[in-house]
Amino acid sequence: MRRNRAENEASHAKLTRRAALLGGAQLLFMGGLAARMRYLQVDQADQFRLLAEENRINIRLIPPTRGEIFDRNGVRLAENVPSYRIVMVREDAGDVDEVMARLSQIIEIDLETFERALVEIKRSAPFLPVTIIDDVSWDEVSKVSVNAPALPGVTPEVGLTRVYPRGSDFAHVVGRVGRVSQKDLDALENPDQVLRIPRFQIGKLNVEARAEDLLRGTAGTKQVEVNATGRVMRELDRREGQSGADLQLTVDSKLQGYVQARLSGESAAVVIVDCDTGDLAAIASAPSYDPNLFIGGISSADYDPLLESKYRPLVNKTVQGAYPPGSTFKMITAMAALEEGLIGPDDTVYCPGHLEVADRKFHCWKRAGHGWVDLGDSLKESCDVYYYDLALKVGIEKISAMANRFGLGIRHELALSSVNSGLMATKEWKRNARGSDWVIGDTVNSSIGQGFMLASPLQLAVMTARLATGRDVTPRLIKSVDGIEQPLAGGSPLNMNENNLRKMRNAMYDVVNDRRGTAYRSRIIADGMRMAGKTGTSQVRNITAAERARGVTKNADLPWERRDHALFVGFAPYDKPRYAVSVLVEHGGGGSTAAAPIARDVMLQALAGGEPPLEAYPTADRARIKVQQEQLRDVQPQAAIDGKDQA
């Protein structure tokens, strides 16, 4: 087809115009693109760079190593030991079912664990290691390592787990750790992020729990570059955390081990406190249990007996238990009267075997009565009527106030769980708590540590130490933190008349060393180790008038849980007090028969710094004690005797 030239020229001119127009529009649009580029890359660059960093950088926590716990001599009480687990990374494993099948042929995996691991592996991100089985032995780790070529993606991993080498000896002191529970997190106002690390362990009980902040340490962090699916590409920065502080306790593991062994078979508690410093040399509650069972979850087969036992092994009787102090309280009543100047030490009271107050008969433990008794006699023979009389003169308020000064009815701050403050009753307390008025009979009962009065073995030991020294000895459990000695609390004079205190100590000496004393059979005859003390027997039941008429039933004839609690408090050496001790045997019967012998044994052990010489015991007892010492040597774990683990 032909076209004329003019037409051609015209259409080409139009084409050129439109081409220029369209080209111009395109360039204009490109200008817009450039402007947008400039806006994003120059004007907004800082903001986007910030967003980019947030995108790719992920902070991971490195769990800190928990501080270890030592006894006063550097023996390990809680340590971290490597534990092994088998993990699998799905993307490395390839055929997960096949690899799992092979793994189960190499090491033993129970069906439940197997199924759970399989589900977890398939649910997790392919590059994340999933724990197949926990707490495997070194043997099994070796088997897995040897078979590594057949087990792609399967590797053993090492972690740290808490172990208590002293087992049950320190369950009631050191306590235990466990997995962080939701309850633990809820209890904290601002939980440390490190607690959210899977498998992280937190202190659950006693020192482990109360000193959690010291022991835990601070988590390290590593900055890692991650991609959009969360896979770690490389590590950018690493900041090491700080391990938890190592704690040293005041307790002597050797003594503690002996005490626990001595108490075996009883439901009892012993506290030995250093009179100079307030350091707790032993704080034992029996029966105990092995805290290692709880690490990683306790089975109900192990747990149920602990829960159901009438001896209540899970309860720390030294601080949690509150018992009527019984006759061990008589020193307080006496001191209240002496300090008030209401009696002189030589004033006597006639004990006919009972005292009638407000038409009610209050009996002395000795039906026939003690006759005329002074302060010394009354304590030595534990005459009740003498103290009924004192209490009526002094009044309950003064007695309770005096008890508080000796550390009763007061919560001693220790790094232990559930420290009980006991109870020293006052009129106001009874009105508030019971809604009834104080009656004179309450005062009479309180004077011999019955009625409403409650004290823990720890408080009784502190009371005894204060009596022995005249200073406000304050218990201490944590000796040093990371090698830094912790300050001693208390130790200042009680500001009591030294003559009165000496009178009490002399009376307590007679309790143990006078032929007529209630604890005479538990005396120590070695010079420089002689003990002073006081027995106590606290009733857990009311003795009816009818029973009293036909004769009080003997403890041995009663069912265990209705027998009296046996108590003893003492200190030694008498003239230069070094240790104060309190012994409580739940439903043990009489303090002189059940508690005082234990007190003598543990006191001698403490003073001798090991097995005491038989010469310290009265000749008649030596044969029996020799047998007992041999038996106890077998019961105690070997390590506790020779202290081979000393650091």
Partner: protein
């Protein structure tokens, strides 16, 4: 004009044609492809596999195709344009019937030795066919309704087929390129005004139809539009691509983080980092300077094409060159707008830079046509 009217003698013959190629244009194309290799090497984490090396091979093949196409006289191509259009259309129909579905859409045809995306081919053949049509059509008939309707049908047939795949991006490109060519050919303003008005009407209809029984677009297309309008509304879901893309781009700053130092694209925060979103990697690693330079290269390619088109007295050659340039422009303009958050994510690659065989070969073929038009221009 038929080829008989050329002063054939003045057109170079044989190997002398090589000397008369538009060498600056070829050099520009190679530069852009070079940028592509660099970026593909970077997003693979400093490796020629899996993208940079195949892309280089395709470029070599594309270069050969371009030279071959350039050697063939432009009038021969004009005479083949009808056939080309028909074949492309048939292939689109074939894709609709037996095509390979990838990522939820049916775009590919497995020819045994190569996976072909017929919609890519259609971008060129449509422009060729329309250029031939307007070359054939006397200038005075251009704006007559019947002669306007015909090219509209020519454009709408492939557009509808591509939209059906569904490939919103390519269908928009086809529509825009076709419309652009009609505009260049001199169709009256009034038609474009009418189309513009009805376009607004259509958009209104598209939105009004949402959620009703006669919904005009797929749900995913609506979501993309939503995402475009407000990417912040769903930063981890639908808006993720755009948000991440802008973060990568913006964090480049003036001079970028340096070659292979881009964190966002290499760490997979970006989707399709080697195809549709490769521009963000460039912008992140080389900053505003790098991104602007690439835009400059593209602009130069457009300018060279427009200039050679205007100088060319042959109507078919002019229209074809301008059409191809327009197509090329639409490619990168849509892609860049998309990654910079100025347009919906429609799935258009960055021409000559994004990884992809079909697009590369078709573009090189198209520039071969431009070269042919340049070499065989009437003198």
């Amino acid at each position: 004009m038929s080829y008989l009217e050329y002063t054939v003698k003045s057109v170079p013959t044989g190997f002398r044609k090589i000397l008369h190629l538009n060498w600056p244009l070829a050099l520009l194309l190679a530069s852009v492809c070079g940028v592509g290799f660099l970026m593909l090497y970077s997003v693979a984490g400093g490796s020629f596999t899996p993208w940079a090396e195949p892309q280089m091979k395709r470029f070599a093949l594309g270069l050969a195709v371009m030279f071959f196409v350039a050697m063939v006289p432009i009038w021969l191509w004009r005479n083949l344009s009808g056939l080309g259009y028909a074949v492309s259309l048939l292939l689109l129909v074939a894709v609709a019937l037996v095509g390979d579905a990838r990522k939820g859409s049916q775009r590919w045809l497995d020819l045994g030795f190569v996976d072909l995306q017929p919609s890519e081919l259609m971008k060129i053949t449509l422009v060729m066919f329309l250029a031939a049509y307007y070359d054939w059509l006397p200038a005075k008939k251009v704006s007559r309704p019947l002669w306007v309707l015909l090219p509209v049908v020519i454009i709408m047939a492939p557009t509808a087929l591509v939209l059906e795949q569904p490939d919103l991006g390519t269908s928009i490109l086809l529509l825009a390129a076709g419309g652009g060519l009609m505009f260049l050919a001199g169709v009256h303003w009034a038609y474009f005004a009418a189309v513009g008005a009805s376009g607004i009407g259509l958009i209104t209809a598209v939105f009004a139809s949402r959620g009703t029984g006669w919904q005009l677009l797929n749900d995913y297309q609506y979501r993309r539009i939503d995402t475009f309008l407000d990417p912040a509304a769903d930063p981890l879901g639908a808006g993720y691509h755009i948000t991440q893309s802008k973060i990568a781009l913006g964090s480049g700053g003036w001079t970028g983080r340096g070659f292979m130092q881009g964190t966002q694209s290499r760490l997979n925060f970006l989707p399709e980092k080697h195809t549709d979103f490769i521009f963000t990697t460039l912008a992140e690693e080389f900053g505003f300077v790098g991104a602007f330079s690439l835009l400059g290269l593209y602009a130069l390619i457009i300018i060279f094409c427009v200039v050679t088109a205007i100088r060319n007295k042959d109507r078919f050659s002019s229209l074809l060159t301008l059409g191809i340039a327009l197509n090329f422009f639409l490619f990168f303009a849509v892609n860049m707008s998309m990654v910079m958050g100025m347009a919906p994510v429609v799935g258009v690659p960055l021409p000559l830079v994004s990884y992809g065989g079909s697009a590369m070969l078709v573009l090189m073929l198209a520039f071969g046509l431009v070269q042919s038009a340049h070499v065989h221009r009437p003198r």
